[in-house]
Symmetry: C2
Subunit: 110 residues, 2 copies
DNA sequence: AGGTGATATAAGCTATCGCTAATATATATG
DNA sequence: CATATATATTAGCGATAGCTTATATCACCT
């Protein structure tokens, strides 16, 4: 699954917000998400799998519990794509600035 | 439609790449996308509407043509969310660093 | 080993997304 | 005005994402 697809789901975004602040056991995540979105443990677990598979979350076993924390890896592609795009339009913008500057110089008296 | 939803489609991402480099008429976009993805003018037009509505693209009329260019507005929310998340885990990381530093000081001889 | 709590997986249903085909709108041009 | 060109909109269809329910797995405790 593509990185942006992963982030397009509100439950997954909220989950990332939670585990970005501190490592949380699956159960703790389920509690919050169940309260906020009204979905089942199963549904949350499925989301967690997607986050793992896409490199947005890491798991650590602690007895029977699975402790989730954020994994920056997944965000790299996303940020890279955004940065690349920004570079494109910044170059364009700079060209525009130069154009305006030139216009000012030749348009104004001095 | 939510910003990340908009970016989750490959056709829309490609379209943004195109119009980020330079303003393009709908027809020109259709040509590229049609070639690369094999979809119809109608499909592209529907994607363009979504990009407009979500603040990712601007339109300028030029006779019968519609010229599309990128609109940074749509990206603000996306970037803000990513930045917020990064702040979360950076704070966490910094706390970890301090912890390690403290460990080194008390662990090593001097 | 059996029981219990914590989490993951599988099967199946439904809503939604993105497509096509057809049609509508808008602007130039003869 | 008629026709052509450029783009947008609508209706309808198929695929897929995300949910529920049920079941499986795994670790701990007695």
């Amino acid at each position: 699954m593509q990185a942006f697809d992963v982030l397009s789901d509100p439950v997954r975004r909220r989950t990332l917000e939670l585990i970005a602040q501190k490592e949380l056991a699956s159960g703790a995540i389920v509690n919050v998400i169940e309260a906020e979105f009204g979905i089942s443990q199963s549904a949350v677990s499925q989301h967690l799998r997607i986050l793992r598979d896409a490199g947005f979350a890491r798991v650590r076993k602690e007895g029977a519990k699975r402790c989730y924390s954020i994994d920056p890896t997944g965000f790299e592609d996303v940020q890279a794509w955004l940065d690349q795009l920004r570079r494109y339009w910044c170059v364009k913008m700079e060209a525009l600035m130069i154009e305006i500057e030139r216009g000012k110089r030749s348009g104004k008296k001095s």
